[in-house]
């Protein structure tokens, strides 16, 4: 087990190095680059542009820039954002709590919604309940997120009014501006974005769990369990669910990096200051130190979560041996 882990971690480091090289190459290959922001400022003289380009270190060839970046990273320096001049780690950490809050709560809600629905749909296969929620799950998976979010806002933050005549829910942001801290206000701001994230991801989780449950409840050992007189609840939750949930564990673990990565569309529509938007804006501005940092941390988390999945798998399913 230990040798296995060491080997996997070594592989992970190599993969990450390769990923960072490819990412850097791709980002640098984007036509235009950071200097495009000055392209439409006609009062910039060519000399001004040359001086700025040199100061930003954009004159070096791409491999040299990559090595410089890597060298700084090896000393723990992730660099500074080209636009804000702040250290990129500071940029990321200023958004991290918001992202964790939104994505963490959404993940918990998703699991809380998806597991019961998945189980019930499976054991009541082809009932109206199953049909209703399976259809809803399809809708959740196929709705364009952007459109759906706008719909939620128009419905709950514009059309529907509370008793005081104000919109039922706030449409954007983390809290009401200009007012003192209030937990209720914070929760009200979380309702719409979390509902949207939950609706979309629960659909996916529920469908996985439903099909896994359907496979399992037709197995011989379930029939045996029933035959020996176990209560139905015991059969479902103790025998069937434990086996059916394995694919879901994979799914959830692979989604863990998104706790860091955020959700671009949700953050954009609901004006949530998360990392998804930070990264997106940086990518639009070709702010490569910031883009590289978010992508590399995100890649590292994906690689680690894959490793985690493999380890957890072995724990959940004794048939799998890590060697």
């Amino acid at each position: 087990m230990t040798t296995y882990l060491i080997r996997r971690l070594f592989q992970a480091a190599l993969t990450l190095l390769a990923v960072s090289f490819i990412l850097f190459g791709l980002i640098s290959a984007v036509p235009g680059g950071f200097m495009t922001v000055y392209a439409e400022k006609s009062d910039m003289s060519p000399e001004d542009l040359a001086r700025i380009r040199a100061k930003l270190g954009l004159d070096d060839p791409i491999p040299i820039r990559y090595l410089k970046w890597l060298g700084n990273l090896a000393q723990g320096d992730w660099g500074k954002s080209l636009t804000s001049k702040r250290p990129v780690l500071q940029e990321i950490s200023s958004r991290l709590p918001n992202t964790l809050l939104l994505m963490g709560l959404a993940l918990i809600c998703t699991i809380l919604v998806a597991i019961p629905l998945g189980i019930l749909s499976a054991i009541k296969q082809y009932s109206w309940f199953d049909h209703f929620f399976t259809t809803l799950a399809f809708a959740g998976q196929s709705l364009p997120v952007f459109w759906f979010g706008l719909l939620l806002i128009i419905l709950f933050a514009v059309l529907l009014r509370g008793p005081d005549g104000r919109p039922l829910l706030p449409g954007a942001g983390m809290y009401t501006l200009g007012e003192p801290f209030s937990l209720i206000d914070r929760i009200r701001h979380l309702i719409l974005p979390i509902s949207m994230l939950t609706f979309v991801s629960a659909a996916e989780y529920m469908r996985y769990l439903r099909s896994a449950m359907l496979d399992v409840i037709h197995e011989d050992y379930i029939r045996t369990a029933r035959a020996k007189g176990l209560r139905e609840q015991m059969v479902i939750y103790k025998h069937a669910l434990r086996n059916a949930i394995i694919p879901l564990v994979t799914l959830v673990s692979l989604d863990l990096p998104s706790l860091f990565g955020g959700a671009l569309f949700t953050e954009t529509i609901f004006a949530w200051p998360g990392i998804g938007r930070l990264y997106f804006t940086a990518a639009l501005k070709n702010d490569y130190p910031l883009v590289m940092a978010t992508l590399v941390i995100y890649s590292a988390l994906i690689i680690l979560s894959n490793l985690l999945v493999d380890v957890v798998y072995a724990a959940l399913d004794p048939r799998i041996r890590l060697s």
């Binding site: 006609s42 009062d43 001049k85 706008l150 954007a172 942001g173 994230l197 990096p257 998804g276 995100y298």
Partner: protein, 580 residues
């Protein structure tokens, strides 16, 4: 969850987002509520707030929430790169001379407009006395000097134009600035449009200044808090020079990345104003009148325009297109025919609901405005000109000459519905006179890429391109870089310049050069008007319509005036007030 994992997915997402943002939802023909060429609010009453029954008298107090789709990432005017940064800094930064909502230069931190010596080389500013920064320190000539040194310093990311021509800058007393130039700098009025306080920090450490994130200035407001990604809160500058102003207690800039959502929140009153509305959003805004929403707009000096390539379109891109002319567009008659075939009024009416003026001049507004006669829409003349030029109608209705089809390609930025519609309408109009127009749009990064990345504008690998550009209030640098023959981008000059048409006219070159060497505004204007007129005769570009700077706002938000430059959204912010 569905994490976004690849940059390509992101690009796709961006395209979706932009197209979603720019689509006007089922537009009825709205009635424009106000003239578009002027800010719709009357000038600010000068009287200080006092208790009165007049509903139009300003009321003190209140928190104004201003929505913005973009976020400023740095607030040091020497390091800003985006228009939202320039816009937000105008809440707390002032300049010696600025441009008001009528497009005129007015003294702000200067007592009067600067005086110029006979030979044009010495410019003298008299500074207002007793002006204080929000940290209590007095504003003096030292701050003006520091601003110049800052702009010229190694780390600055602003244009050094003008500042680098200053030989000496002297402060004979704290309220007088005397700059001696090594050569005449005609647009001297635009210098010192912002002032950086001299105690901001050491110039060689500019990137780590605390000032970058927590700046101060002489303007009506001062930054209290910046929550990244969410909002910036500005409070009253306690030392602001006008008594009783600003009226508002706070201005909050709320970041709302989706403009669609921003417009909805304007309707519910969650925000009071939304910056950077586009012309395509105006029908939606007009429909929200009952919800208490209106807008203020100003013509900006930028035109949505067509750039016609007079040089070869294969990338050979010579500095002199006469050695390798464009096979179709080098002929003036073809360019005239294209102009005659385009019904600009119809584009303005059908696609923009009559909210904009058709474009006719490179200088539509500002101190140097030179309106030109409207171009004529006359398809018959277009056909005659094409016949004269030897282009005969072929079997499929498209003209031909010597086996060459009269087929042109138009490029623009993708994901912009309005531009796509404009291109389709243009293709129809040109088809009616026998010209084929094929459409090929590119992501804006690719479209605007420079020559070193093989960008089509610099290398000249295009027939016609559609985008927006125009002069800042002083046309000097825009006319020079866009129409002077010294500014044709080539590999030899490292792609400097924006004369993408590869337009050469010796008279135009001379007038632009001449105007750059005199400081007399009237004389300069005369020369620039000659340029504007000559351009319309030679047609290297076709101006489709004048772009607006638009801010949507609620009726309870008063005295919002828009300056014709895109950036000064906070022009006159000391006069803003909210009715209860």
């Amino acid at each position: 969850m569905k994490p976004i994992q690849s940059p390509f997915v992101l690009l796709l997402a961006l395209a979706l987002l932009l197209s979603a943002c720019s689509s006007p939802s089922t537009p009825p023909p709205p009635q424009p509520e106000q003239p578009t060429s002027q800010a719709q609010q009357p000038a600010a009453p000068e009287a200080p707030a006092q208790p009165t029954t007049d509903p139009n008298a300003p009321v003190s107090g209140g928190i104004l929430i201003f929505g913005s789709p973009q976020e400023p990432s740095i607030l040091n005017t020497l390091l800003t790169t985006s228009s939202i940064e320039d816009a937000v800094t105008s809440l707390f930064v002032e300049g010696l001379v600025q441009v008001n909502d009528q497009g005129e230069y007015v003294p702000v931190l200067a007592e009067e407009l600067p005086t110029v010596s006979e030979d044009g080389l010495v410019v003298t500013w008299k500074l207002r006395k007793g002006v204080k920064f929000s940290n209590g320190l007095e504003f003096t000539c030292e701050d003006v000097r520091f601003t110049m040194e800052g702009a010229l310093s190694d780390l600055s990311q602003v244009s050094t134009s003008g500042y680098r021509d200053i030989e000496t800058l002297e402060c004979p007393d704290p309220y007088t600035v005397v700059a001696t130039f090594s050569e005449v700098y005609a647009p001297y009025l635009r210098l010192f449009a912002y002032i950086v306080p001299h105690d901001a920090g050491e110039l060689d450490q500019m990137e780590t200044w605390e000032y970058n994130q927590k700046p101060w200035g002489t303007g009506p407001f001062v930054l209290e808090e910046h929550v990244p990604g969410d909002h910036l809160t500005f409070v009253k500058n306690p030392y602001y020079r006008e008594a009783g102003k600003p009226y508002l207690d706070k201005v909050i800039i709320k970041i709302l990345p989706s403009r669609e959502v921003g417009i909805q929140l304007l309707g519910t009153g969650e925000i009071h104003a939304l910056w950077d509305i586009t012309e395509a959003d105006l029908p939606t805004i007009a429909k929200m009148n009952e919800q208490g929403v209106t807008y203020a707009a100003a013509v900006t000096g930028e035109n949505e325009l067509l750039v016609l390539n007079l040089g070869a379109n294969d990338g050979s891109a010579p500095a002199d297109p006469n050695t390798a002319p464009h096979p179709i567009l080098a002929d003036l008659r073809v360019r005239q025919a294209i102009q005659y075939a385009i019904d600009k009024q119809q584009i303005a009416d059908a696609l923009l609901y009559g909210n904009v003026n058709p474009g006719n001049s490179v200088l539509p507004v500002g101190p140097f405005a030179c309106p030109q006669p409207a171009s004529e829409f006359n398809p018959e003349k277009a056909k005659t000109l094409l016949e004269e030029a030897g282009w005969k109608v072929g079997a499929d209705g498209i003209r031909e000459k010597d086996g060459l089809r009269l087929s042109l390609k138009i490029n623009s930025t993708s994901g912009n519905l309005l531009r796509e519609q404009t291109e389709q309408v243009l293709a129809e109009m040109l088809k009616a006179v026998g010209i084929e127009l094929t459409i090929e749009n590119l992501p804006s990064d690719v479209f605007f890429a420079g020559g070193e990345s093989d960008g089509l504008r610099d290398t000249g690998k295009f027939d016609i391109i559609l985008y927006t550009t125009g002069p800042a209030l002083d046309p000097d640098s825009h006319l020079f870089s866009n129409y002077s023959s010294y500014r044709i981008p080539t590999a030899e000059n490292e792609w400097a310049g924006a004369n993408f048409s590869r337009y050469i006219n010796a008279d135009v070159d001379q007038w632009i050069d001449e105007a750059a060497l005199i400081t007399d505004t009237a004389k300069r204007k005369e020369l620039y008007c000659k340029v504007a007129k000559q351009i319309n005769q030679d047609i290297p570009r076709i101006y489709l319509y004048e772009r607006l700077s638009i801010t949507a706002h609620r009726n309870e938000f008063h005295n919002l005036t828009i300056s014709p430059s895109f950036v000064d959204f906070a022009w006159g912010a000391q006069n803003w007030w909210l009715s209860k």
